[in-house]
């Protein structure tokens, strides 16, 4: 079963351990955080549960169709109050419980001062690609 672990720049429940911006951490804390993320992904490759991960740049916009022959309408950049996704990791695991367990581990990445960031991550199941049992 595939699950998407979503990291947000903002949005979601209130942070339990609010972090200063990363450029205000010590360089060692920045390194430890980056290394933790890399090790986490490498471990999931080892266990055969890693599918893909990508990070999203913070800029962007909303776009919609505005009628035949007219250019699309844009609304953005994203308002400060809006939810903003920072990146995702796609995993393929045995169960929902395992997906939650892994998201919990990812949220334990060290933050400023070395303590876990305890940031909220969103876990979303993907629809299955299999059609078994639908007939």
């Amino acid at each position: 079963m595939k699950y998407l672990l979503l990291k947000h720049y903002r949005g979601g429940p209130d942070a339990v351990a609010p972090q200063p911006p990363m450029d205000e951490w010590t360089p060692e804390d920045v390194d430890a955080h980056v290394q933790y993320m890399r090790d986490f992904a490498a471990r999931l490759v080892e266990t055969g549960e890693f599918v893909d991960e990508r990070a999203l740049r913070p800029e962007g916009t909303f776009v919609r169709h505005d009628g035949e022959g007219r250019p699309p309408v844009t609304d953005g950049p994203f308002a400060e109050t809006k939810d903003l996704i920072a990146g995702w990791m796609l995993i393929d695991v045995e169960s929902w419980e395992r997906a939650v367990e892994l998201a919990g581990q990812l949220s334990a990445a060290p933050g400023a001062g070395g303590a876990p960031t305890r940031e909220w991550l969103e876990v979303r199941p993907l629809f299955s690609e299999q059609l078994l049992g639908t007939e």
């Binding site: 911006p21 990363m22 804390d29 920045v30 980056v34 290394q35 890399r38 990070a55």
Partner: protein, 383 residues
Amino acid sequence: MNEGLLRELVPTVIGILVRRGADFASAEDAVQEALIRALATWPDDPPRDPKAWLVAAAWHKFLDAVRAETSRRGREVAVDAEPPPGPAPSTDDTLRLYFLCAHPTLPPASAVALTLRAVGGLTTRQIAAAHLVPEATMAQRISRAKRRIAGQPLDQPGDLPTVLRVLYLVFNEGYGGDVDLAAEAIRLTRQLVTLTDEPEVAGLLALMLLHHARRESRTGPGGRLVPLGSQDRSLWDTGLIAEGVAILQAALARDRLGEYQAQAAIAALHADAARASETDWVQIVEWYDELLPLTGDSPVVRLNRAVAVGEADGPQAGLAALDGVDPSLPRYAAVTAYLYERAGELSRAAGLYADAARAATSVPERDHLTREAARVRQQLRGS
């Protein structure tokens, strides 16, 4: 089986099929199919004459495709099973493939893909993996590119600057999947040097070799990006540097300077310094002054020149050299941050490094710039 040898045969065999009367698109498809079969069967059953095997297999694939097409259209098979002898293939065939695959009408991503397949002899699967797109998408990109250049004469001189741009693009794509694209770009540029007599081709090869020589030192523990000034120079590949410098010197001696030769000259001056502090920045600025008009006053070159000016004449001069450069350029904030840090304006530098991290276009670059901001802020707290 030597996969490298097999891949080197690909452009030659495409040339042979075209000389026997196949159109480029069909010939290229047929050779790709023969290549995939060779990769599957040669390890257990290596042919005595690899080239003859590949020509025969590709010609049969081509005939199969023609028969399928004619029967689909309900017409007679028009092609003989025995290939007409045709004129002997020449090295010019391969050169023409470079021009065709990097045709100026093709979007860069398509030219890259087509060059890697028809000239580089990579499979669609390898090219797709290297670019993180599905194989079917890459197959379509290549088919559309071939349709776009259908009807282009194969015997016209092509546009060499476009070919060089495409090869440099491939080089900068670095690693992807199981293919080392930087090494592949070097191989293709080496081959192009033997097919042409243009100092700029040699200049590009020298530039690639000099950059490639530093590859080991460019990333630190955990994949961290290490900037030129902090690299462990004992990791630099002195053999590649010596080769790059020799190729560059021979090219420069011909007195037809171009942008790749000028860029290679700058890379050579960096390679020449045993320690970062021994870098000859004055000469590097002179080369940037040569490079600027060759690139039509490129803003990116102007930005890099400002860094060199900052090293040669001090950070204030570097900041002054940024005058008139578009601040929305990628890396503009990073360059100003560096110059302000050198000027001792740490608080301003930290803010600019943080801005630069937000504007970064890759994750390693973002992480590096975040760390730079953190480092300067730590210095500020300590002082």
